[in-house]
């Protein structure tokens, strides 16, 4: 994975709470055995009408937000299902950072694994940033992960991020390779617990 340090791009406001992963990518897009091409289904019910025509009033269909790399949303963004198709779809569309008061736990993990930053801010700041992003002349944000800052309309704001998530994103390391370096410890763990609690290995 490429390390994530800064994101400089258009921010799109999605002023709703509890935007669930079913909204981000509906179930009809989950019947795939690959990770690619899911951007077409991103926010499907909001982007398209029942005939597949683009809905002109949805923010991600409007210029300049159709080129967004940042989303600013209400709290509990990404609640619901564990589908990693949600961050795959967001990334395929071009999203690299989501700013919200809080995130679904599984979704937040899935974002980190895919190089998407989940930046947490207080509700009032999220509301303010959505208002700033709504104006085409001020919707370009700069997010700096190392300093944990968002620069919008000439002002700088702090955000919080889980320490482990931050390290992963900055390093771009492969987690499985790192864990496999601990194979000896995993072997030793298994050996001792096979004796102490054999039913766990039955």
């Amino acid at each position: 994975m490429e390390p994530v340090r800064t994101i400089d791009g258009i921010a799109a406001p999605l002023p709703d709470r509890n935007i669930d992963t079913d909204q981000i990518i509906p179930a009809s897009y989950l019947s795939t055995v690959t990770r690619t091409g899911l951007g077409a289904g991103l926010f499907h019910a909001r982007r398209y009408d029942e005939h597949g025509n683009t809905k002109a009033d949805f923010v991600l269909n409007k210029t300049p937000w159709n080129g967004a790399s940042i989303i600013v949303a209400g709290d509990n963004f990404g609640c619901g299902s564990s589908r990693e198709h949600a961050p795959w779809a967001l990334k395929d569309f071009g999203i690299r950072c989501i700013i919200a008061p809080s995130f679904g736990d599984i979704f937040r993990n899935n974002c980190t694994k895919n190089g998407i930053l989940t930046a947490a801010v207080e509700t009032r700041l999220a509301d303010h940033l959505m208002a700033v992003a709504r104006n085409p002349s001020s919707c370009r944000f700069q997010v700096d992960l190392n300093n944990q800052t968002i620069r919008a309309k000439g002002k700088t704001y702090d955000f919080s991020v889980d320490e482990a998530d931050k390290n992963w994103l900055l390093s771009g390391l492969d987690e499985i390779s790192l864990s496999l370096r601990d194979s000896d410890r995993i072997d030793a763990y298994e050996q001792s617990w096979r004796a102490a609690a054999p039913w766990r290995f039955a």
């Binding site: 179930a27 055995v33 029942e50 736990d105 298994e190 617990w193 609690a197 766990r200 290995f201």
Partner: protein, 465 residues
């Protein structure tokens, strides 16, 4: 005196392979459950990197999410993409030596119904699955939580996960459940009280005399919905009921001595009385009523006698469900009834629904489906004569799968169709694009099927004999 510990602390500590300086832990995973929708990309990842499955014997797979539930489609899945996913699951299981229940195997069904049924879930274990409703298995006193596909690949390759320990919340439930009020109503009432983000970053331990009286099936319903309040995992201390349940399970029945030894160790898992929780919530269920959702989040829940609240920020939800603040849900006409899912697709749920349906008929305006949670639940229901009650009443009696809970297969709502559902999520479009979901218990869903409207099951049935 050693520091008092919660059950979650104990199980977590027993699974610690190592800790890292960034505050995360490498946690050993005892059971890894797989299904066809979240796993293909993980196996592809293993393939691309030349890695192998570390412990195939600790791994178990089914196809459940997108399988057809019409008997005539079971052996030739009409949808090509779904067929490819199911075939890929079977091929990956075969290649890596993983036990797999496919279509045509009577034991196939929803992973969270099948795994306990087979005796795969034991107290004190860690259990993961690429599905958020993995929280179900906390009913056995196991740390069980949903993961994404990258994490599936990590578990396949290492039998571990790198995790940050969550904060801990205890939800204490007291009192006897009134007639026709179920664990589903408790789960919805809890979410209404603490909100869908109320337990984000936490695990939940459910405790109290109400929980002690619950059957394993009811405890599974409760833990299943932990994720709908934001908690990745729910947990209940194992007791005699768990031990009795496990005795007869296929995985364990052959080795009663090992089970006895295990039971002794499991009886020490419960949280110490002085153990500290980061948060505590209490709910007395004595006056609880049947609950129904009105909006597009499980927190949008009211008692059947209640009215939709006037609250800020619910305009979008109300516009989607076509309802207004101040309105009652009692007598709201419905088009469809879905009884099934990992929340309410077990034999106990079907018995409860059948009790209401017996001798009655589904409203002629309503399409009603019963989708058993597993092939074994289906067979059991047929032996007990429940299927006959449903079919005579006008229900469709389907094969096992996730079905209309998430609308991945053909079982979907059409735009504007209104459904009384025993599933777990009423999100926009969850059961089909434009479909409207009202979550409720199997008793309430059965009553709705009969009346053609959301109705108070207590009015239909009176006091329970």
């Amino acid at each position: 005196m050693p520091e008092p510990k919660t059950m979650f602390d104990r199980i977590w500590d027993d699974h610690l392979v190592r800790s890292y300086p960034d505050g995360t832990d490498l946690l050993y995973i005892d059971r890894h459950l797989l299904h066809e929708v979240m796993s293909p990309q993980a196996f592809q990842g293993l393939h691309d990197t030349g890695r192998h499955v570390r412990r195939p014997e600790a791994t178990f797979a089914v196809s459940d999410h997108n399988v057809p539930t019409l008997p005539e489609h079971r052996f030739e899945i009409p949808n090509a993409a779904s067929r490819l996913q199911v075939e890929t699951m079977a091929a990956n299981a075969r290649e890596h030596g993983i036990d797999y229940f496919g279509l045509g195997d009577e034991r196939q069904g929803i992973i969270h119904v099948v795994a306990p049924e087979q005796g795969l879930i034991l107290p004190g274990m860690t259990v993961v699955c690429g599905d958020s409703h993995t929280s179900t298995h906390g009913a056995f006193g196991a740390i069980a939580f949903g993961i994404g596909t990258s994490e599936i690949e990590h578990v396949l390759a290492t039998q571990t996960l790198r995790q940050k320990k969550p904060r801990q919340m205890r939800i204490s439930l007291s009192g006897h459940l009134p007639d026709w009020v179920t664990e589903k109503d408790v789960a919805l009432a809890v979410i209404a009280q603490i909100s869908t983000a109320g337990a984000t970053g936490h695990m939940i331990e459910y405790a109290g005399d109400t929980v002690s009286r619950m059957s394993l099936s009811g405890r599974m319903t409760l833990c299943n919905m932990a994720i709908e309040s934001g908690a990745r995992c729910g947990l209940i201390a194992p007791d005699r009921k768990v031990f009795e349940y496990l005795k007869s399970r296929p995985r364990l029945a052959s080795n009663p001595e090992a089970l006895e030894a295990a039971m002794d160790s499991w009886s020490h898992l419960a949280s110490d009385p002085e153990a500290r929780f980061d948060n505590a919530v209490a709910l007395d269920v004595t006056e609880l009523e049947p609950m129904v959702t009105w909006g597009t989040s499980p927190e949008h829940t009211i008692p059947i006698t209640g009215r939709i609240p006037h609250s800020a920020g619910t305009e979008r939800a109300l516009s989607y469900t076509g309802l207004s603040a101040g309105q009652s849900l009692d007598d709201l006409p419905i088009d469809t009834v879905f009884i099934g899912s990992c929340t309410n697709g077990r034999i106990e749920d079907l018995r409860l629904a059948a009790e209401i349906v017996r001798g009655r008929h589904v409203s002629d305006k309503v399409r009603a489906l019963v989708v058993p949670g597993s092939g074994l639940v289906r067979a059991q229901a047929e032996r007990e004569g429940l299927s006959e009650i449903f079919v005579r009443a006008g229900f469709e009696w389907r094969e096992a799968g996730c079905s209309m809970c998430l609308g991945m297969n053909e079982d979907r709502l059409s735009p504007g169709e209104r459904c009384a559902s025993t599933s777990n999520r009423n999100f926009e479009g969850r059961q089909g694009p434009g479909g409207i979901t009202h979550l409720m218990s199997p008793a309430m869903a059965a009553a709705a099927a009969i009346e053609g409207r959301v109705t108070d099951v207590r009015r239909l049935m009176g006091a329970r004999s």
